[in-house]
């Protein structure tokens, strides 16, 4: 049986209509998924307010994907609505308590809000998941340093310093703790290490100058100050 051109055209039109209809019906029946997708697209194009509206709708209507929460929280972060970002990361952690990135970001926000105990609790949890992650070790060290738990902080800094993640500014942070503890020789040693890797770091050089003066080396302190200030007194 030969199919006429007119019949072919009719079939094609039917197929086209059913395709469009299915797409339309999908939109109607899967609105949260649609919003989720729109939210992701808005986020990738840096339209954060639109992304928030879309993802808020998607999550509010049952979408439980981790990345939906993450992107929503990241959108809040991008427009500096930090409290809402924190709430969203926390909501994600209620769904998945082991979500490393959410733990990391909540720790960062708690630190930013000055809630150091909460930040430390999140970071300790994260260390159970990623025990050797240098960034997590560094955050833990910094939190401990900031809260005056210097000995424990030194422990974490030492773990970083023994690996290949050691950066000059990390050595400088460790040196600073030794300086506060008045372990001058160790402080000088670590400051000098930091400066050998980055001789242009004026802030570290000033701190070295201070500790040299406190240790009874005023002449050396003077020359470090002069170098840090970049002039020839």
């Amino acid at each position: 049986m030969r199919i006429r051109n007119r019949q072919l055209l009719a079939f094609a039109m039917m197929l086209l209509c059913s395709g469009l209809a299915s797409a339309y019906l999908y939109r109607l029946t899967h609105a949260p998924w649609m919003s989720y997708r729109e939210g992701v697209n808005h986020f990738s194009e840096h339209r954060f307010t639109e992304a928030i509206a879309a993802l808020d709708f998607a999550i509010g209507h049952g979408i439980r994907r981790s990345d939906a929460f993450m992107i929503l929280a990241d959108s809040y972060m991008a427009i500096q609505r930090f409290a809402e970002a924190l709430d969203t990361y926390e909501a994600l952690l209620r769904i998945n308590a082991e979500h490393a990135l959410a733990l990391w970001k909540t720790a960062g926000l708690y630190e930013q809000f000055g809630r150091f105990e909460d930040a430390m609790q999140r970071t300790r949890h994260l260390l159970e998941i990623l025990p050797d992650d240098p960034a997590v070790l560094l955050r833990m060290a910094r939190l401990l340093k900031f809260t005056g738990q210097w000995d424990e902080a030194i422990g974490y800094y030492s773990r970083l310093c023994s690996g290949d993640s050691l950066r000059p500014h990390i050595a400088s942070e460790l040196a600073e703790i030794y300086a506060w503890k008045r372990e001058d020789a160790k402080a000088i040693e670590w400051f000098r290490y930091a400066l050998s890797a980055d001789p242009t770091d004026a802030q570290t050089r000033i701190r070295l100058a201070r500790i040299l003066f406190w240790s009874g080396y005023p002449e050396q302190a003077v020359s470090e100050y002069i170098r840090a200030l970049g002039d020839s007194t």
């Binding site: 079939f11 094609a12 469009l20 797409a23 490393a100 990135l101 960034a135 942070e173």
Partner: protein, 228 residues
């Protein structure tokens, strides 16, 4: 024209497939990422308040240079600090001390006079008194010393200075009164007693001066005229 319906037909099938591929796909929930942003390792953990500004470092340098007695270098740094932060009266006061140590008393005094009364601590006020004495501006020095002695009556050293200045300015009775008080607090201070004696001489009270000066000399050996 003959091929057009077939093209439309195939196009329809493609649209249908595309619509299902795009809208019909329910992606699986991916596992949470375990990768922490490595950029954190590169970030310096330094707030604005942690940063040591240049003027602060320069001020510290100026101080240390004064401690190691490199006064010209120290003064140069103080000048640079004050050109950047003219409101920094503490640096002015310190610079005045360094000027004094460097023998530039007039400049030190001029600088201190640009500060207000409440910006001067006791040590600075005493320095000003000393500088006024060097400039022979005795009434100003006396005023500072008197004020200080009112709140520190046990400070013999400053009381003696007050007595000295009274003496140099010709106010002998006031000088004598202050020396007497100072000597009652420190009767064995030979130098103090001699200064007292000099004021007694200037006020023509020679007999009293002789008595006081005798007290500052070692006693004559009693055995010299003693019969064996």
């Amino acid at each position: 024209m003959k091929t057009m319906p077939k093209t439309v037909f195939l196009g329809g099938i493609l649209v249908l497939l595309w619509s299902w591929s795009v809208w019909g796909q329910a992606p699986s929930n991916p596992a949470p990422s375990k990768t922490i942003d490595p950029a954190y390792l590169l970030q310096k953990h330094e707030t604005e308040s942690d940063r040591i500004p240049d003027w602060q470092a320069r001020w510290e340098l100026a101080r240390i240079l004064s401690y190691v007695k490199q006064y010209p270098e120290s003064l140069r740094e103080y000048e640079r600090v004050l050109s950047e932060r003219p409101d920094l009266w503490e640096a002015k006061v310190e610079m005045a001390h360094v000027l004094h140590w460097a023998g530039q008393s007039k400049k030190a005094l001029d600088l201190l006079e640009t500060t207000t009364e409440d910006q001067r601590d006791e040590a600075t006020r005493l320095l000003m008194a000393e500088l006024y004495v060097m400039q022979k501006a005795y009434p100003k020095a006396i005023s500072i010393y008197r004020q200080y002695i009112e709140s520190h009556p046990q400070d013999v050293r400053i009381r003696a200075k007050l007595a000295d200045v009274y003496g140099w300015s010709g106010q002998y009775d006031s000088a004598i009164a202050q020396y007497k008080t100072a000597l009652s607090q420190r009767p064995d201070d030979i130098q103090l007693r001699r200064r007292y004696a000099f004021v007694l001489i200037w006020s023509k009270r020679y007999d009293e001066a002789i008595v006081e000066l005798r007290k500052t000399l070692p006693p004559e050996p009693a055995s010299r005229n003693k019969p064996e």
